[in-house]
């Protein structure tokens, strides 16, 4: 496992046409393809590293560890197969959050989920406050078009909510969170549609 393809793609993308967007369209497509290939290869290396980092106890067995960490590069089109899994079978989703900066960060994560009965725990088993937000039709529409083009078909399950929860991550470190089926611990957002009145201004 290496990051060589990503290095090659990034090197090519330093060309002045790539930086400014003055390349021809078929060249832009080539840059995008190379970046995607590079990301996919690097993702495997990162998955292996995260698997070693998150292993409790001895690190000597690290190369043989098999925890398979996946990323969601298509979160921008609301497509994240790992987080869209069915949690009702007693399984839980492990979310590992890595901070590449040298200071502690507190942020809010958003991932698409199917169920509205969800509970989030931190690595010490404490429940974490969470919120469910219905996914906007505009986002679902974009997801459907792109995922269908990407996979040739639509996945059976369709996410209904964004699950938002706060995370705290140490400098140059990571934290883990666990998402499982629960008794509606995540609060569903209060939704209202307001029709502005004309001319009141």
């Amino acid at each position: 496992l290496t990051t060589d393809s990503l290095a090659d793609a990034l090197a090519l993308a330093q060309h002045h046409d790539a930086v400014t967007g003055t390349e021809k369209q078929h060249v832009a497509n080539d840059y995008a393809k190379r970046l995607s290939i590079g990301y996919t290869q690097a993702e495997k290396l990162v998955s292996s590293s995260l698997s070693c980092l998150s292993q409790s106890g001895s690190k000597s067995h690290c190369p043989s560890q098999t925890t398979n960490f996946e990323q969601c590069p298509l979160l921008n089109i609301t497509y994240c197969p790992p987080s869209e899994m069915d949690l009702s079978q007693g399984k839980s989703l492990v979310v590992l959050v890595y901070n590449s900066l040298g200071w502690k960060r507190e942020d809010v994560l958003r991932i698409p989920v199917i169920s509205d009965s969800i509970v989030v725990h931190d690595s010490e088993g404490r429940e974490v406050e969470s919120q469910l937000l219905p996914i906007a039709n505009a986002s679902l529409h974009m997801r459907e078009k792109h995922v269908k083009a990407y996979l040739g078909m639509l996945p059976a399950a369709k996410p209904k909510f964004w699950l938002a929860f706060p995370v705290s991550v140490p400098p140059l470190g990571f934290n883990t969170y666990f998402i499982s089926s629960g008794k509606k611990s995540a609060s569903v957002s209060l939704m209202s549609t307001l029709h502005p009145s004309q001319g009141s201004e």
Partner: protein, 284 residues
């Protein structure tokens, strides 16, 4: 028929009865500012007639400005919760916007989904979003240079030579890679971006960012094709849809630099999220 407020923490946004963003307030920093968020597009010069220079990949050459009016027409969908509030607006058939205010955060996050830009009227379009305040900024604004120091820009002025501006819009646009800000002696309005865009302050108290462009003519500077990217689904092609975010904050004078540097770094290096499956409740 009354104002609506969102925000569970110290930062609040107020929308007026016409559904337009009208006030930004932060109880911690005591900053309060009248505030509008709008969209407009520039019709790209086609290179015909008296001006042979078309708007294209290299050249921004607007022909005229078309405001996108929304007051009193766009329903707002509001989601409120314990962690964040968000307001969804379908500005027009090809612009969707979500404003978010997080309970523990001091900035407004705006997500935009823009496209496909319609060109069936024969006009290429360059879409900009505007943030308008009543700040007296005296023709001055600041843009970063590839993430390095912010550089002072003055409308229709260059410090090193006498410029005669023939393009009042394009002549004042600058690259924005990290952010852009204005100040009026008591407050600073900063906007940070998640991608490189063009930006300017065309009027005092105003900042605009160009979010998307779709043009129908080559500008004749080398690329030899129009900036008219499409995506194809089932053998049908349509103009590109883009999705991104910008982040806005108003600080007391002199207090914005720290946020622009630290949060700018966080935008550039987002948290990496990885998922794994686990049976049962055996915490790793």
């Amino acid at each position: 028929n009354s104002n609506m407020q969102i925000g569970q923490g110290q930062l609040k946004l107020q929308y007026n009865a016409a559904g337009a963003l009208s006030l930004y307030s932060n109880s911690k920093t005591q900053v309060e500012a009248n505030f509008k968020q709008k969209y407009k597009y520039y019709i790209g010069q086609d290179g015909n007639g008296s001006d042979p220079q078309a708007s294209g990949a290299y050249i921004f050459r607007p022909n005229c400005t078309v405001p996108i009016k929304t007051d009193g027409q766009v329903p707002l969908t509001v989601l409120r919760g314990s962690i964040l509030d968000e307001v969804h607006q379908q500005i027009n058939p090809w612009i969707y916007q979500i404003n978010r205010v997080y309970k523990g955060k001091d900035y407004v996050e705006t997500e935009f989904i823009v496209g496909p830009i319609p060109v069936d009227d024969g006009n290429g379009k360059e879409l900009s979003t505007e943030v308008v305040t009543n700040m007296a900024t005296n023709k001055t604004f600041y843009t970063d240079s590839s993430g390095r120091d912010f550089i002072k820009r003055i409308r229709d002025y260059r410090s090193e030579w006498k410029i005669e501006v023939h393009q009042p819009i394009a002549g004042n646009y600058y690259p924005v890679n990290l952010g852009i800000y204005v100040e009026d002696g008591s407050r600073e309005l900063s906007i940070l971006v998640d991608r490189s865009v063009g930006g300017a302050s065309i009027k005092d108290g105003q900042i605009e960012l160009m979010l998307h462009r779709r043009l129908l003519h080559d500008d004749g500077r080398g690329v030899a094709e129009a900036l008219n990217e499409t995506t194809c689904f089932d053998n049908q092609c349509e103009g590109l849809v883009i999705q991104g975010k910008y982040y806005l904050r108003i600080d007391p004078q002199g207090e914005g630099a720290r946020w622009r540097r630290t949060f700018g770094q966080e935008i550039y290096s987002p948290l990496l999220i990885a998922f794994a499956e686990q049976d049962g409740g055996n915490w790793v």
